[in-house]
């Protein structure tokens, strides 16, 4: 239930400086860590937490993430961070202050062995010590009703944290910090006036550009794609998908195109068509005859030997003969409706059937 967190503790950044440099450094470091893991949270000045599972899969192991984080803190702030790994924010912070990386499953015994003072309430700690309870574990073993009798409501949350039922202490997060960081970046308040007029680039365009850059850094240069239309008859020819940032194509879809397949078009158009088999009710292969008719009405569509679907309706085929002046390419399109209610677009080319679109 509580997830494995990496807490990053930078001692030099936890004291507020009067000129605001600490806050600025904190914000820069948050940006740097967000590049490593987008779910990095800033907890307090000088303390960050990030979930470890996703990044360690991505970087190839927890050690690699820890190294990357350590390097980036060093590069950005020039200070050495303390790193701690444990389940839940409370234990992760305590582990970070001691520079401990707990094995998974070791969090419970670690928490129980801690001294009561880590819970941060002197009154509770002193009273318990007088009763002979020195560790978090012995406090956790108390009955919740007894704790509620002796202390006020706040002690009950401590008790829940001590038992591991709650992952973080009440005052552990600085709730005003997020707002201050937003103010620092000048993005407080959700503005709607970000549209560019007459081709002018608005603030929204710049934001989108920054975000696209970030995804590209994570997944590779051609991870982000933009789409455009060009001339053509069938949906799979009219679509162009190019990596974001490549020069825009000059060909635009403006002029009417004779023989264009009319809407609706499939919401999924496969970039690489999938070979399928179309058979009639007696399980015979259906072929396109030379004059553009089907040999038999289709009855079954086979995606593989296991996956077969009954065809309840079909339209077409609509033959296309293109580039007859050079290399001729003969295709025919067919719409089919399956018994499951799905509608598909198929083509016949080179005497085979291909799935090219799904009306998803």
């Amino acid at each position: 239930m509580t997830e494995r967190l990496l807490a990053v503790w930078v001692e030099a950044l936890c004291e507020e400086s009067p000129d605001g440099s600490t806050l600025r450094d904190h914000s820069t470091l948050l940006d740097a860590l967000t590049i490593l893991c987008p779910f990095t949270e800033s907890i307090r000045l000088g303390l960050f937490a990030l979930p470890l599972r996703g990044p360690s899969r991505f970087f190839g192991g927890e050690g690699a993430v820890l190294d990357a984080v350590r390097q980036s803190v060093r590069a950005v702030t020039g200070h050495e961070p303390l790193l701690g790994v444990a389940d839940g924010l409370f234990c992760a912070e305590v582990a970070a202050r001691r520079g401990l990386v707990l094995a998974s499953g070791a969090t419970d015994s670690f928490r129980r062995s801690l001294s009561l003072s880590v819970l941060g309430r002197k009154d509770v700690a002193t009273t318990c010590q007088r009763l002979g309870l020195h560790t978090v574990g012995s406090f956790a073993d108390l009955d919740a009703a007894r704790v509620a009798e002796r202390f006020n409501g706040h002690a009950l949350t401590l008790h829940r944290v001590a038992r591991g039922e709650s992952a973080e202490l009440d005052g552990q997060r600085d709730l005003k910090l997020a707002r201050r960081l937003r103010q620092l970046r000048g993005e407080d308040g959700v503005g709607d006036e970000q549209l560019g007029f007459f081709g002018q680039r608005g603030a929204g365009d710049l934001r989108a550009e920054v975000a696209a850059h970030r995804v590209r850094r994570r997944l590779g240069v051609d991870a982000v794609v933009v789409a455009a239309l060009r001339g053509g008859r069938v949906p799979e020819d009219r679509a162009t998908l190019v990596p974001w940032g490549s020069p825009p194509s000059k060909v635009r879809d403006g002029a009417p195109w004779p023989g264009q397949m009319r809407a609706p078009s499939p919401a999924t158009t496969l970039a690489h068509p999938v070979a399928v088999q179309l058979r009639d009710g007696d399980d015979h292969q259906i072929v396109m005859e030379s004059r553009g008719f089907l040999s038999e009405p289709p009855g079954v569509l086979l995606f593989s030997s296991q996956l077969r679907r009954d065809v309840v309706w079909h339209a077409g085929p609509w033959p296309l003969v293109e580039r007859w002046w050079s290399l001729s390419r003969r295709r025919a399109h067919l719409q089919v409706l399956l018994a499951t209610g799905e509608a598909l677009l198929l083509t016949a080319e080179a005497s085979r059937w291909w799935l090219v679109g799904i009306y998803d």
Binding site: F58, G202, R214, V225, A227, L241, P264, Q335
Partner: protein
């Protein structure tokens, strides 16, 4: 006139912050096109909210999610689409989405949640289709981030692998029926609109998606 001028004290910054006009309630909503405007409480998508679109595989879930983008896209808002491997560009354009302001991340591999979080800062609406069932933790983190950033998250789920957390607004496709002539003409989707708060009152509606022009209209 005066021998000296009184130096005007500067306003403390926090007072300046409080004097700044607050965002109007209207700008907290992203507009919806027909027919959704009439079917959704408030007539738009609240910034920071999560919308779940759920449909049996192949029965119009993707078209429905895309149709929620149209009006915002036409007004200049950016949209992102993560995890839709082979977007049907013609169908998206026919719906009325401005392709110049849509960023696609077709195959995010294992990093769908991370790339979604990366894109969140730069777009106003984000469609996410997780490759398999989304984990509880990833969904919660994404929804928290969306709330913080004021984006609208549209999570696209199949009936077999539902979105693990309750959404602010949900569209459930319960039935899809094609009208045919000599070709596929139009599809009638029965959609149950639900969600939290004011959205709970929603009921079942029939919409045509796509119609003969590839757009969305009331049934």
């Amino acid at each position: 006139m005066f021998a000296f001028s009184v130096k005007r004290p500067t306003l403390p910054t926090d007072v300046v912050a409080t004097l700044r006009p607050v965002a109007l309630a209207k700008s907290r909503m992203l507009p919806l096109g027909e027919p959704w405007r009439a079917l959704v409480p408030g007539g738009g998508l609240r910034r920071g909210s999560t919308v779940v679109v759920q449909a049996p595989p192949g029965l119009g879930g993707l078209s429905l999610a895309l149709s929620l983008l149209t009006e915002s896209s036409a007004r200049g808002h950016w949209a992102g689409v993560v995890g839709v491997d082979d977007p049907g560009v013609v169908a998206i354009a026919d719906l009325g989405v401005d392709l110049r302001r849509v960023l696609f991340v077709p195959r995010p591999r294992g990093a769908w949640a991370e790339s979604a979080a990366d894109l969140l800062d730069g777009v106003d609406l984000l469609i996410v289709r997780p490759p398999s069932r989304a984990s509880h933790g990833a969904a919660r983190r994404l929804m928290d981030r969306v709330r913080e950033r004021g984006t609208v998250l549209i999570a696209l789920a199949e009936s077999g692998a539902p979105w693990p957390l309750p959404a602010d607004l949900s569209f459930d496709v319960t039935q899809a029926q094609w009208a045919t002539s000599s070709r596929l003409d139009a599809r009638y989707l029965t959609v149950r609109v639900g969600g939290r708060g004011a959205a709970v009152r929603g009921g079942e509606h029939v919409v045509v998606l796509p119609n003969r022009r590839g757009r969305c209209e009331a049934g």
